[in-house]
Amino acid sequence: MRFLLRRVVFYALTAWAAITINFFIPRMLPGDPVTALLGRMQGRIDSGAEQSLRVLFGLDQDLGLWEQYVEYWRMLLRGDLGLSFTHFPTPVADIVNQSLPWTVGLVGVATVIAFVIGTLAGSILGWRRGTWADSLLPVATFFQAVPYFWLGLITIAVLSVNLGWFPSSGSYDRGLVPAFTGEFIGSVIYYGFLPALTVVVSSVAGWVLGMRNMMVTVSSEDYVTVAHAKGLPERQVMLGYAARNAVLPQVSSFALSLGFVVGGTLIMEMVFSYQGIGYTLYQAVSTHDYPLMQGCFLVITLAVLVANMVADLAYALLDPRTRTEDR
């Protein structure tokens, strides 16, 4: 329980830090793009909306920094992230709300698949170290070093433009109405296949390498030798004794690599024009839509924090030491 409590406090602190960073970035950076945009919008923004933008970007010269900060928090707690410039006057929160499920689905499915495949493959590679299996390592290294988006470009070029098997952009057939019908879900899977595939292919290598190295380290432990000496079947020693212990660091590094995977997935959405939050961020960046950018960052960070908390919970369930140790 102590372990979980500590983690919850830590995540609360991190969330506070992320929100505070989000508050300070537009105030600390030189230049003031927002005033210019507000000027261009003159007359088209009603006073309430203008007020919330001023709070977001610190254009209230008459208020002290502390009052601005308090005001900013008050807005966030109301769920108000300001108004988008490009999709004016849609609130940022609405846009983010629409795109978030797509990203969560894509990242969630792809990450779970990559984690399972990578960990399994890694334990087999680590178990068979020093044999032909080691020759697969350079391949994994290569995929770890490839930028996500380039792999996306190549998959589009081969599987979608040349072979025509999959659509190269979008997230479902535009002729369909979003609903919980078999046809629509099928279309979502069909359109999501390529982005998910590229995320899996480019993130699986990290899991493979991490698990492989842990297996190599774990498998010279005494309890593995004992298990061998007892005459247990090879498979049981590998999965029940070695892999079971090697997977723990894997789960705890899950939390840390998640941010990286999410970053990669955002770029992948930009490449595939997949209507998730990454694509929204991309549009925000290319149209200088600052409130939308900030809203995207905040929501992405909070989502990653929640996912991390789930991973920690899983870790606490898997590793009995976290439950008994009084630290």
Partner: protein, 305 residues
């Protein structure tokens, strides 16, 4: 045979270093050895590789090989600057946290864990997009400022295990000052960890910078490999089947990344002897007909007769 030579005898490390040397040379000499000016338009629009243009041309007839050769400098400089700045911060935070202990350690490691958990790429995008001009160096510093946490975490763990060792205790008993303990006793033993953190950060910086250029945050007039991909993506290179436009630039990034990862592999094998004994000796074991088994750690060096 001392440790340093062993590092260089490792096949992976040699491959990595050779590739790195090649790209460094490209970065140094780029503008002089490029066959064309990368901005010079010509009549051969979007032409496939030929004798005149080894890697073909883009939609305005600019030579793609020249863009790659000239762009190498942008990529490497950003990687290096970001790597150095992140490593410096990482060493400062990590070693201090590990050495000081107590409340200082708690707060510093909480800080680095926060930076680890907050997704870096969106943060970098957020900062870079709001800067008035996001040139190469600015981007490098932003990447460095956000990417130090991983190194700090690893260094802290390593310092923790070092600071109670006998030689440090002995130096402390001799009345050495704290900064001397850190500089002379602890830091030299962290070299490998620092090096591997540095290489990892350079890789991360290269990938982030290329990504930023690809989505068009950095000025598109600064040539780097991401800029080439930016132009390719925005001019429908994929749909037009202009593979020579986006394949070589991406392959260069992948090659550079692989070289860095290979060097890191070598460093890892030095730090973790168990990886070394399996990695380095797989072939010689096979030659002698020994099948490596689990729970069986081959001895690295045998007595020479």
């Amino acid at each position: 045979m001392n440790n340093r030579l062993m590092f260089l005898r490792n096949g992976k490390v040699i491959t990595g270093l050779v590739i790195l040397a090649f790209f460094t040379l490209l970065a140094l000499l780029g503008p002089w050895i490029a066959p064309y000016d990368p901005n010079q338009v010509s009549d051969s629009l979007l032409s496939p590789p030929s004798m005149a243009h080894w890697l073909g041309t883009d939609h305005t007839g600019r030579d793609i090989l020249s863009q790659i050769v000239v762009g190498a400098r942008g990529v490497l400089v950003v990687g290096l600057v970001a790597g150095v700045s992140a490593t410096v911060v990482g060493v400062l935070v990590g070693v201090t946290a590990g050495f000081v202990g107590g409340i200082g350690d708690e707060s510093l490691s909480a800080l680095s864990n926060m930076f680890l958990v907050i997704p870096q790429l969106p943060l970098i995008i957020l900062i870079a997009a709001q800067l008035p001009s996001a040139g190469g160096l600015t981007v490098a510093l932003v990447i460095g400022a956000t990417g130090w946490a991983w190194g700090a975490r690893v260094l802290r763990a390593q310092t923790l295990s070092l600071r109670k060792r006998d030689f440090v205790e002995a130096a402390r008993a001799n009345g050495e000052r704290t900064w001397r303990l850190i500089l002379a006793e602890v830091l030299p033993n962290l070299t490998a960890v620092i090096a591997s953190g540095f290489v990892g950060t350079v890789l991360f910086a290269v990938l982030s910078q290329v990504t930023l250029s690809f989505i068009g945050i950095t000025p598109v007039s600064d040539w780097n490999w991401g800029t080439i991909l930016f132009w390719a993506q925005n001019n429908l290179a994929l749909q037009r089947g202009a593979w020579w436009w986006f394949v070589p630039a991406g392959a260069c990034i992948a090659l550079l990344g692989m070289a860095l990862t290979l060097v890191n592999f070598g460093i890892d094998e030095i730090v973790n002897p168990r990886l070394r004994s399996t990695g380095q000796h797989a072939r010689s074991l096979r030659r002698r007909g020994i099948r490596p088994r689990v729970g069986f750690t081959p001895v690295v060096r045998e007595a020479r007769t």
